[in-house]
């Protein structure tokens, strides 16, 4: 039977006992067509009066012919997007243990203050004399970031984590060039466990990448780093706590080895949320570290951004920070927007982005910091670590831990050793979690662990929530071992859609809506 979309309603084995519906909808789960299928070219949801006749100054550039975009009236648009939203899982829906991504609670206070006209309706190029409050926010955010990291400088402008990585690595490249070693120091060391952004960033700005092998206990050994050091090495990019959720025990020795060899230590700060108020990167020998405001300081992830990636810098790198930045002359704050305008003793390497960075995110992150205070941020780190270890303790007898010798920090890493012979893969297990009402953990990352499952509950979960989560995963684990294979391999059964064919999407890419051929023909 075909529903009104012309699609089969026979939804496979799990749906056999369900009644088909005329519409194809399932109560709150509504099939929602694309705007191109419901809108019209003459429709609009914004009332704008046509201006009185005037003499155009577009010259020969006036658009000929129509754009080809439908519009929707306001009620239609509202319904379209509300229905779409109902097909999404967010932190507010339930536990979202996506390791490395830090899906913690997004306080609405932060949304409210970011929308104050004095922040939201301020232009980056209006006279500086009319935006002292904006400079206050940047100064105050910088003070918090420098204090929390124990670093003397911060470049605020990078737009997200990977952009911050690029900024930090550019500062390193500039410092190396200033020493006249630009032609020789061309290699960046990156552990095998690193985020993909690390090697991609190094390559983006012209470095070649050498991998640091992973030790059997999930950490990086100073001896392995030393073996790779030489006059050709510019820096190491090391994540701490690392992507296996372990605080690198030899981090201080690694930093010292880098410095002794005339190289720099870039720290990927994606996991800084585990140690805020507990340890400072500045005390560990870090030269540059980006901070994902959307992870550690809870600016909303928004379905994939926007983020913000300020970079804290050591004394050695601070002079090379890109424009724009705020220069403090006594208590006087000056916005430096041009390299030609840079104060003495600074040598900015250039500019990362137009304007001054993610002001909207600065405001939200600062509101988060003010709300938590020094005490609350330390407690948040401790609770995040406690929650991760509590989950680990609750599952360690059923699921396999690749690195049992180190305590976990803010995330617990399992591998798929325990699934061997069950016919259930890490992906199957993740999809079965969807049926239980959870967003899956990060899967197949880090790459150093086979079939990785990286669970980061964050500090936002109550004990009751963690207990239910652990009980659910235990039930699933026992089912996987107990030959209840279809619960996994055919999962999800209860999501808005069943498992999607990603191979087909890549083999025959359809990247935009095209008018169906039959409709085209009829129109011609």
């Amino acid at each position: 039977m075909l529903n009104r979309q012309g699609r089969p309603t026979q939804a496979g084995d799990a749906a056999a006992e369900r009644h088909e519906t005329f519409t194809g909808n399932r109560a709150l789960q509504q099939i929602e067509p694309l705007i191109f299928e419901i809108g019209h070219h003459e429709a609009t949801g914004v009332d704008i009066e046509t201006p009185a006749p005037f003499k155009s100054r577009l010259g020969s550039h006036a658009r000929q012919g129509e754009i080809g975009l439908p519009g929707l009236s306001e009620p239609e648009a509202m319904r379209h997007y509300v229905r779409l939203s109902q097909k999404n899982y967010g932190i507010d829906t339930g536990l979202f243990p996506l390791g490395s991504c830090t899906m913690k609670h997004n306080a609405r206070l932060n949304e409210k203050v970011a929308r104050l006209p004095g922040f939201a309706d301020v232009h980056p190029l209006q006279p500086v004399s009319t935006v002292p409050g904006a400079l206050d926010v940047m100064r105050e955010l910088a003070r918090y970031l420098m204090t929390l990291t124990g670093m003397p400088a911060v470049a605020l402008s990078p737009k997200a984590g990977a952009h911050g990585e690029a900024c930090g690595m550019m500062a390193i490249k500039a410092a190396i060039a200033a020493k006249g070693e630009g032609a020789t120091r061309t290699v960046v060391l990156v552990p095998e466990s690193a985020h993909g952004t690390n090697p991609a960033t190094a390559a983006l700005i012209g470095f070649s990448v050498k991998a640091v092998p992973a030790r059997p206990d999930g950490t990086v050994a100073v001896d392995d780093v030393k073996a790779l050091l030489g006059p050709d090495v510019a820096a190491i990019m090391l994540t701490n706590p690392n992507t296996c959720g372990i605080f690198e025990p030899q981090i201080v020795e690694i930093a010292a080895a880098m410095h002794e060899a005339g190289a720099y230590f870039y720290c990927d700060g994606a996991n800084f949320n585990a140690i805020v108020g507990k340890a400072r990167p500045g005390d560990l020998g870090v030269d540059a570290m980006h901070i994902n405001l959307h992870k550690t300081f809870s600016t909303p992830h928004g379905g994939g951004g926007p983020g913000a990636g300020p970079v804290v810098l050591s004394e050695r790198l601070a002079p090379y920070a890109p424009v724009p930045f705020i220069h403090l002359d006594g208590d006087e704050a000056r916005l430096v927007e041009h390299t030609s305008d840079a104060p003495e003793a600074t040598d900015p390497f250039g500019r990362m982005t137009a304007f001054h960075g993610q002001m909207g995110m600065y405001v939200r992150a600062l509101a988060y910091m003010l709300s938590h205070g020094a005490d609350g941020m330390k407690q948040a780190s401790e609770d995040a670590v406690l929650n991760a270890n509590y989950i680990r303790a609750g599952l360690a007898d059923l699921m396999s831990l690749p690195f049992p010798d180190h305590p976990s920090m803010h995330e617990a890493l399992f591998d798929d050793e325990w699934l061997k012979g069950t016919g259930v893969s890490t992906l199957d297990f993740a999809k079965a979690m969807i049926d239980e009402g959870y967003h899956p953990m990060t899967v197949y990352f880090p790459l150093v662990v086979h079939g990785a499952m990286l669970i980061e509950p964050t500090e936002s979960e109550s004990k009751a929530s963690l207990d239910l989560f652990v009980a659910t995963l235990r039930d699933l684990a026992m089912a996987a071992r107990g030959n209840d294979k279809s619960r996994f391999t055919a999962a999800p059964h209860h999501a808005p859609l069943r498992r999607l064919d990603e191979t087909r999407a890549a083999r025959q890419p359809v990247l935009k809506w095209e008018k169906p051929a039959a409709v085209k023909d009829a129109a011609e």
């Binding site: 089969p8 070219h41 609009t44 914004v46 046509t50 201006p51 155009s56 100054r57 020969s60 658009r63 975009l69 439908p70 929707l72 997007y81 939203s85 829906t93 991504c101 306080a107 309706d121 301020v122 232009h123 980056p124 209006q126 006279p127 409050g133 904006a134 206050d136 204090t147 990977a162 993909g196 991609a200 960033t201 983006l204 012209g206 605080f247 201080v252 108020g277 560990l284 379905g303 951004g305 926007p306 927007e337 250039g350 500019r351 990362m352 304007f355 910091m369 709300s371 020094a374 609350g376 406690l386 270890n389 305590p407 999809k431 969807i434 004990k463 929530s465 859609l497 064919d501 990247l511």
Partner: protein, 446 residues
Amino acid sequence: MRYLPLTDTDREDMLARIGVSGVDELFSDVPAGKLLTEPLDLPRAKGELEVERIMGRMAAKNVAATSVPFFVGAGAYKHHVPATVDHLIQRSEFLTSYTPYQPEIAQGTLQYLFEFQTQVSALTGMEVANASMYDGSTGTAEAVLMAHRVTRRRKAVLSGGLHPHYTQVVETLSEMANDEVVALPADVTASEDILAQIDDSVSCVVVQSPDVFGNLRDLAPIAEKAHAHGALLIAVFTEVVSLGAVTPPGALGADIVVGEGQSIGNALNFGGPYVGLFAAKSKYVRQMPGRLCGETVDADGQRGFVLTLSTREQHIRRDKATSNICTNSGLCVLAFTIHMTLLGQAGLSRLAEVNHANAVKLADALAGVKGVEILNESFFNEFTIKLPKPAAAVVEALAEKGVLAGVPASRLMPGAGLDDLLIVANTEINTDDDRAAFVKALAEVL
């Protein structure tokens, strides 16, 4: 602390279950002496009311665009955003979700990305668009790198009409990557001879239209010469509303089109977050940076959407990826696509027409002020005027009179000898009263 659900009793029970005596035992890998024992020198936790007061005081010190006659543009524009947009983007399922790694429970995000890609390709006249970049400037730098990959050449020519911040972002990244950039000097009246720069060594030519001074540029001859020499044309815009009124770059031969999408759906936010639009010819799709959303089917044959062609991306290809970008501008994309859906082509055309009509009115009025000269032959909603005095001082004096008049060219290009130029934008938010206030105040100041 209102955001932390654990009680002290919970914490004790949990530590016991884990089998440690205190939480610091979990931090045992932190090297000796590096675990902080004293609280950091920052204030203690505050209630919601107090935080709101502190943030409110800082916000109140700024002059908001909505509170005065406001003509500031040059890459970011104040437009009216329908109330529906901000309501919808704050729905929990959009706001608190993440990159759709699990497509079965992220169809909301994926479908709007697919719709967004379709909208951007229609607006720009291009075959394919990605799911966004951070903003127009970083998108432009990525477009240059993409052109280098396509052409296997490493030299970019930048028009003197390109927004100076965009030029600097391209120059910074290119210098780091050891690529060559030829940036032409500031070109106020669109009279540069960019064709003379194009030869067989050039990878791409980057031209902005409307340019930073507001001029509309002839892209077709540039595309033609670029193609004759195996180079690509990268067309840039900072005011996406212009695409409602002018010929799209795709129809003029552009190979990559990149621009700032802030004007639709997004607030000024003192410069960010914004949303970079990125479109190209489909034959170059595998060299594109950023995320792409594609259509597919689920196990029951139902239509659905997934992130696709990710073998271009850093999480798969690592140092061989087309870009290092990961998190992009998801929620700003949503704001853009909702606003664009509300407008439709009918609304967008009218919005563009009102912008242009208002700018023409203002130009005519300003031309009547003694000593003021309009420099543009053509423009959309922004143009450049020449003043008898340094523009920066005039703007300060006008700000004191309660008018935010525009961007002095010297703010963007100090030392370029353009101190007497002012870049003035006029959108649908400006009323006849705003324009009259501007003209009156300017006459007084001059």
